[in-house]
């Protein structure tokens, strides 16, 4: 299975600022996804990160708030823009390999 790393592992940010989360995979993958997991909740897909084109966002998520880059087949970034306390969550990168999706360790974000 793919080995996925995320940076930072956690951060505490001030309201109104932005944070960029990096996701690195140890092999080339076609499909990469970004999920949000609010405290004590399930996982919600934010967007599919497409290599060489714009990300595909799910209902309720917009590019201005969550811009995503996918410059190659092993790397992606998610930016959480103009943060508010409601953005406090775990943000997870996921990759698809075969029939399966594997998750990174997550980035725990706290917004004050």
């Amino acid at each position: 299975s793919a080995v996925i790393s995320q940076k930072p592992s956690r951060d505490i940010c001030q309201r109104g600022t932005s944070l960029t989360i990096q996701c690195q995979v140890d092999s080339q993958v076609t499909m990469m996804f970004w999920y949000r997991q609010q405290p004590g909740q399930s996982l919600t897909l934010i967007a599919t990160a497409n290599q060489g084109s714009e990300a595909t966002y799910e209902s309720g998520f917009v590019i201005d708030k969550f811009p995503i880059s996918r410059p190659n087949l092993t790397f992606s970034t998610l930016t959480v823009s103009n943060m508010s306390p409601e953005d406090s969550s775990i943000y997870l990168c996921s990759v698809g390999q075969g029939s399966t999706q594997y998750f990174g360790p997550g980035t725990r974000l706290t917004v004050l």
Binding site: M31, S42, T44, T48, L92, Q101, P105, R108
Partner: protein, 117 residues
């Protein structure tokens, strides 16, 4: 139609007992049903998965039972151990009504399993 409903929300089992978590779905386009295990502070880890053409899959102490006609599937953990204490998520993968978003996982609400020694 994209929802996956999971129950119970929490479960307490004695060591050695059987833990059973249930999920139900509505979208018949789902074609792959994984279960994930998540420990605090960690990302979800794939535990076991099944396709709808199979009624049961067993891997060690973990078994998925799948009922296609009822659109339900369940995870059974035999001989539950304190180390199994974690949050478990069922999920379903497939395209939406328009045939897009293939590969996207829809998750259940999660079950917090506690196994007492």
């Amino acid at each position: 139609q994209q929802q996956v409903k999971q129950s119970p929300q929490s479960l307490i089992v004695q060591k050695g007992g059987i833990s059973i978590i249930n999920c139900a779905y509505e979208n018949t386009a789902f074609d792959y049903f994984p279960w994930y295990q998540q420990f605090p502070g960690k990302g979800p880890a794939l535990l076991i998965a099944i396709r709808p053409d199979v009624s049961e899959k067993k891997e060690g102490r973990f078994t998925i039972s799948f009922n296609k006609s009822a659109k339900q599937f369940s995870l059974h953990i035999m001989d539950s151990q304190p180390g199994d204490s974690a949050t478990y998520f069922c999920a379903a993968r497939g395209s939406d009504a328009g045939g897009t978003s293939y590969g996207k996982l829809t998750f259940g609400q999660g079950t917090i399993l506690t196994v007492h020694p």
